[in-house]
Amino acid sequence: MVVNIRKLPDRYYIMPGNAACPGCPETMGLRYIKMALGDNVVLVIPAGCSSVIQGIAPRSGINFPILNIVFAAAASAASGLKAAFEAQGKDVHVVVWAGDGGTGDIGFQALSGAAERDEDIIYICVDNEAYMNTGIQRSSLTPYGAWTTTTWTGKKEHKKNIPYILISHGVKYVATASVGYPTDFIEKLQRAAKIRGFRYIHLLAPCPIGWRFDPGLTAKVAQLAVQTGLFPLYEYINGVFRLSPIAKKYKDPKKRKPVIEYLKLQGRYKHLLNKPDEVKKIEEYIENLWHLIDALEKTFTAEGGKGEAIYRSL
């Protein structure tokens, strides 16, 4: 399945006058959802930037039906909403759109529950690596070293690996994506849409406000995260793991860009740019991450090309 982004519908999904900051990655992601899935979608959104981006009722700056819900309850409200559609014989994509905090911290229990129950929903974590809505506080998905307003000298712990945890739940579909690669994200959404059961997409969403970079650079930063090896793009479908074609080459450390190129664009890393030990810790993190990817690739294979067949069939 190959997507030509120019041929996809893109009309008035994100309206002028919505309340996002310039260069906001969340509006980029939202637009791609409708481009990929069309109009038969209902969003469930917990507290976070996207609750605000919608703008002021009774209007909305995002052309989706949306059930807003309390911070910790996105996956469970979506489970119920889907059950209601099923009870009425309606086939609707129920899509959760939750931040890294709403996913990996306060909403994690509900997410884990819905994943284990194999609820027929698509859960997207829009990961801007901090609580942006409340003013850039650290989350468990904030990476090592990053400045936030609750980690003034840099976070001391590494990023929690939520997609890996979701793979461990044995759900039908897990993918990582980046707003820097819209076609890849859209393809993944469309593949996910063809599967029944719990589907999880982890979307990296660099935030110019929280990460302290120029709002014109959102897509570039999102690409650099992939190109430096910090954010591998992959899919896991029905027990088969595959690196995404555009990101495959970054398996080879020599093909990766130096991580410093990524770090130096962002004010949140300013304090560690001339501390080689700190940068080294991030490089080690990348190495370890790829060991894990390697292990996943070797573990979740399908013999005789069946793996590729699964991907091609979707």
Partner: protein
């Protein structure tokens, strides 16, 4: 109509079946658990056509049925005690969204220490949320109220979620004969689901994004008005149910021997039966008592209470909960209802933590109150602690226990 021996919890489950609920989500907690067990069993045996979502917590239970209700399904959940506190945030969201929904709360004390026995501390936390809050006295009423709850909650004049309260173990786990109506009767009584809006691709609506503050203010006002409107709907529903089943409860309140009474005891829930027995005992002693049983805590039956106590010598309120630093919650509301009258008033806090209250315990407090009124004239005692029997009149033992356990 078949008479079945049902526990209060099974009465709830049968009512949920008869109401043709489509989505159920609940999380086990004593003494609620047998409700969701029974519903699961009925669904798996094909006696009921619903989806049961076996969620991982109460927060998710209410969020899931709220999601289902928002999507147009008739939905139900049940909980108790810590479970209710755990879902507290969602109770506010659900009420504010004006989506009809029904929940059973099987009342239970809140820890520490862990305690599975009855008191009303849990259900009373719902007073400010915007849920209609009802309390049953016995199992037949549990079934009837649960069916009625869907009708009340889904009435366009109301559109608020509703709680049916039933006392832990006293009702939830005690079997009693219950007249279970035929499906046709319930179908006649309960119209297909109505709700103010549905979230779906067809409607393309957004619920819950930021609104101007004055609009939000007016939304709160409109909820309050809907609570007022619910009073009328509750009375109507009571009359209509009586037409179909012959059972009528009195709507917001039930009055037991109020007309010729000099004194009124105000209660809610299962222990009202003991209070009525106590009233009969005191009548033999020359104190003419009636019992006003509150079937609804929200909306607060202001007019009905004012009417029932008009011209009486005294009102004694029994609370099975306390607002720390203030009084029992029912007392507080009775006190504002009686503002301006110079009727004698006493608030009794009793039966907390499942401590048993027998008719003679009620009688003791009522006798003490009436004799004080007759001796002293007007009595106003907002917070009288009716201690467990073996600690009454023994302040040194109470002090000792307090020292050791606090």
């Amino acid at each position: 109509m078949p008479i079945m021996g049902l526990t209060g919890n099974y009465a709830v489950a049968h009512a949920v079946r008869l109401a043709r609920v489509q989505v159920v989500a609940a999380y086990p907690i004593t003494p609620q658990t047998t409700i969701v067990e029974k519903i699961s069993e009925m669904v798996e045996k094909g006696e009921m056509n619903a989806r049961v979502i076996r969620v991982e917590s109460e927060h998710s239970a209410l969020a899931a049925v709220f999601g289902a209700a928002s999507g147009g399904a008739r939905a139900f959940t049940a909980t108790a005690s810590h479970g209710l506190l755990y879902m507290y945030e969602v109770t506010w969201w659900a009420a504010g969204a004006r989506v009809p929904l029904v929940m059973a709360v099987v009342t239970r004390a809140i820890g520490p220490p862990w305690n599975i026995h009855v008191d009303h501390q849990d259900i009373m936390t719902l007073r400010d949320t915007g849920w209609i809050v009802s309390m049953a006295q016995e199992n037949q009423e549990v079934l009837d109220l649960t069916i009625q709850a869907f009708r009340i909650s889904e009435d366009p004049r109301v559109y608020l979620p509703m709680v049916v309260g039933l006392d832990g173990f006293i009702l939830s786990h005690t079997r009693a004969p219950v007249d279970v109506p035929e499906q046709e009767v319930v179908d006649e009584f309960l119209p297909p689901r109505r709700q103010p809006y549905v979230i779906s691709p067809e409607t393309n609506l957004v619920m819950g994004n930021i609104a101007p503050d004055d609009i939000h203010f007016l939304m709160r006002y409109s909820m309050s008005e809907a609570m007022e409107a619910a009073k009328k709907v509750i009375e109507e529903v009571d009359r209509e149910w009586a037409k179909l089943t012959g059972r009528r409860y009195g709507g917001l309140v039930e009055c037991y021997k109020c007309e010729d009474a000099d004194y009124i005891a105000i209660t809610t829930g299962s222990w009202s039966g003991d209070a009525k027995k106590a009233a009969d005992m005191l009548r033999e002693e020359g104190y003419n008592y009636g019992v006003l049983r509150l079937r609804f805590i929200r909306p607060w039956p202001t007019e009905k209470i004012a009417m029932a106590v008009e011209g009486k010598k005294g009102v004694i309120v029994f609370d099975r909960a306390v607002s720390m630093g203030a009084t029992g919650p029912i007392f507080a509301d009775v006190a504002h209802t009686l503002y301006g009258s110079n009727i004698s008033l006493m608030g009794v806090i009793a039966g907390l933590a499942g401590v048993d209250m027998k008719a003679r315990d009620f009688a003791e407090a009522m006798r003490m109150f009436s004799s004080r009124v007759e001796e002293e004239g007007r009595v106003y005692e907002p917070r009288f602690w009716l201690l467990p029997r073996r600690y009454r009149g023994r302040p040194e033992r109470v002090k000792e226990v307090a020292k050791r356990w606090s």
